[in-house]
Symmetry: C2
DNA sequence: TTATAAAGTTAGATTAATCTAACAAATTTG
DNA sequence: CAAATTTGTTAGATTAATCTAACTTTATAA
């Protein structure tokens, strides 16, 4: 069983690998705010547990087992964030710190219940995908609403930025995550768009707003569900 | 800030004090499943943090600060148990282990939200009181329904035993925590009772059931709310 | 009331996670 | 390509939480 500290190292390695490919010790150390020798000795001990492939002076990689474990922690983190926001009415800005703690709770059931209560979400509110139980990251296929062509139906799934004001604005227009939007027209002039959705047959959104709304173009598969 | 380990020592001391008065080192050690020297050195370090009064060979006591901290951890534990059962639909038997972990989460808001969502409960499902934010234990005034006289109005607040079968039985009769019951009559013969409550003007409950239902006799104050 | 048992203490070792100082390897660059 | 810089490693120390072994104090009881 990994300690919370070890779990943080695995998480950092997973995130670095998914954004940079090659992982160096110093990147790991600076990400975790520890000294190089500390990271070095921890990496050796993670190797002993078969979670990390380590050779002197070589870049670091996670083993298959390490990836699975890391993904499960990130899954717990992102589920927690969503749970705090949607079930417990936290603000987006407040959730990270708490989620950093709750992600280390050992209880499959606790997180499966969160998952159920949230309706098995595929991504967190910032558009970062939530790994499945198999540790696989569904590749995110979000695009900003601003890049969608007129006539298309899309699902609003995430926000690229979620300040309190922006959220209030969305509330005032009846916009919430999960909603299906149909693009009616776009305006070359200022990149504003007119869209329709539940109870809103014609709503104009500024270009700035459209860039911040992350959507998924509906496929046959996603529409069927 | 107390580590999770220190918090467990404080919690054990609080619980022992509330059930035994005098606390000896060996009681503490055996409660926490650690050796005497381990408990001894931890107690010294808790003394340094001003949470425990310690003198060689003397019984242990918590300082005022220590009591407050211990009560806050127990509060978090019991709120978590209730939250897991009522919001996340865990079974009573499953919650303890998870609550032992979650009680160490540092986030006042997280637990205040639980408290709100649960309607500021005064006791956990086993009738153990939940300390308030001030660390005070409201003295529990629960009595088994079986000891209530006919004509009295009571509030169902806890269960002395909560097996799955018992809970199913309660569900089948529309009985849930928080409900107000009026005792219509009691039967000398088998200690069964007839009570009325929402949508159930006349329900007979066996003596066994009545012993397991913990209720609070309504006062003017509690009824007003 | 002294001998034995129980409870508490001290000393010293271990493991995990961290650090600084000193050194070595690899990489960058003049 | 050799010098300088960056990166990685080793050695050795520290703190928290734990242990066993040995010893002391307090309590029990013959």
């Amino acid at each position: 069983m990994a300690s919370p500290t070890e779990e943080n190292y695995l998480k950092a390695l997973f995130n670095l690998a998914n954004s940079q490919g090659e992982i160096t010790l110093s990147e790991l150390a600076s990400r975790l705010q520890v000294s190089l020798p500390t990271a070095n000795s921890m990496v050796k001990s993670l190797q002993k547990s078969q979670w990390v492939n380590y050779e002197k002076y070589k870049p670091l990689t996670l083993t298959a087992e390490g990836q699975l474990l890391a993904a499960s922690i990130i899954r717990k983190h992102r589920l927690t964030e969503l749970f705090l926001v949607h079930v417990m009415k936290f603000g987006w800005e407040e959730v990270h710190e708490v989620a950093e703690q709750i992600e280390h709770i050992h209880s499959p059931k606790f997180f499966e219940r969160m998952d159920e209560m949230l309706g098995h979400p595929a991504a967190d509110p910032h558009g970062s995908p939530i790994p499945g139980l198999d540790g696989k990251l569904q590749q995110q296929s979000y695009v900003p609403l601003s890049s969608v062509l007129p006539g298309q139906k899309v699902e609003l799934l995430a926000l690229s930025n979620s300040s309190a004001e922006f959220l209030e604005f969305l509330n005032s227009r009846g916009l919430s995550l999960g909603l299906t939007l149909t693009v009616i027209s776009t305006e070359r002039f200022d990149h504003s768009m007119v869209v329709s959705y539940t109870d809103h047959p014609r709503e104009a959104l500024s270009g700035k707003v459209c860039e911040r709304l992350l959507v998924c173009v509906q496929t046959a598969a996603s529409a069927a569900h």
